[in-house]
């Protein structure tokens, strides 16, 4: 099985984005909004359009509360889930503001379900 380069990058950056946002949010005490803003600005500055969008979208998952994603392991599951959802929904509702958030909400709820099954 061969994974396209773009999709592989989306998956890697999604996991990193969720991890960093969650870490800034809960461990560094920045709060979800500043953490999301920081990750989004850095992504937009250094990554090409498509990847920057994926990083910003994934960052929304990292804004989740500890009641939803309580551990670093949860963020990895969340990152993989949101990456897969982004890849599968690239063409749907492109250009509608909030598409990323809806994608993230879907991924977060899937992650929460997976984590509750693992417990």
């Amino acid at each position: 099985m061969k994974i396209k380069e773009t999709n592989k990058n989306i998956l890697i950056f999604s996991v990193l984005s969720v991890l960093i946002t969650w870490f800034l949010n809960h461990k560094m005490g920045c709060g979800p909004i500043i953490a999301n803003g920081l990750v989004g600005v850095v992504g937009a500055l250094f990554l090409p359009g498509m990847l920057a969008g994926a990083v910003f979208t994934s960052s929304f998952v990292g804004m989740s509360g500890l009641n939803v994603i309580p551990t670093l392991f949860g963020t990895i599951i969340g990152g993989i889930t949101v990456g897969v959802v982004i890849i599968l929904t690239k063409e749907i509702y492109a250009g509608v503001g909030g598409k990323g958030g809806t994608t993230a909400a879907t991924a977060t709820l899937i992650t929460k379900t997976i984590l509750s099954l693992i417990k």
Binding site: F60, M63, V68, A105
Partner: protein, 145 residues
């Protein structure tokens, strides 16, 4: 009073993100991210609970401001979308607390509501074509049929 402030901040967030994204040509991610970061920093200096609420609302507005120029070609449309964002934010305070993506979903609902309204009421945003510019025959703005 608090609700009016929430709606005003939502409009400000939406318009700012759209302005950075479309008018400054920085793209939707940069537009929303800068607005989010600024709101997070500015409102953290305010009264804790109201400040947090306003930061969240501005962020939701910023996500809605990521809409493409094709879907919302005029900046005044952001005022309507911002108003919808503010209203839904007030109504959905206690829904899905802590779930990442909740704010983006509110933004998507707001944008889709406005796009739907435009279709339902046949509101057409007329853009000047090159030919029309030459002839000067087509006016900018809204035309309702």
């Amino acid at each position: 009073m608090e609700n009016i402030l929430i709606i005003l901040i939502a409009i400000a967030g939406t318009t700012t993100a759209y302005f950075i994204s479309i008018y400054l040509n920085k793209g939707p991610t940069m537009g929303a991210a800068v607005t989010t970061l600024l709101s997070g920093i500015v409102f953290s200096y305010m009264d804790s609970e109201l400040g947090l609420t306003l930061a969240v609302v501005a962020t939701t507005g910023a996500y809605a401001g990521m809409i493409s120029k094709k879907k919302a070609p005029r900046i005044w449309e952001m005022i309507i979308i911002g108003f919808i964002v503010g209203t839904i934010s007030i109504l959905a305070t206690s829904t899905y607390v802590g779930v990442g993506g909740k704010l983006g979903t509110i933004a998507a609902i707001s944008c889709l509501s406005w796009i739907g309204m435009k279709k339902a009421f046949n509101i057409e945003i007329v853009k000047e074509t090159d030919d029309a510019k030459k002839k000067g025959s087509l006016k900018k703005g809204i035309q309702s049929y």
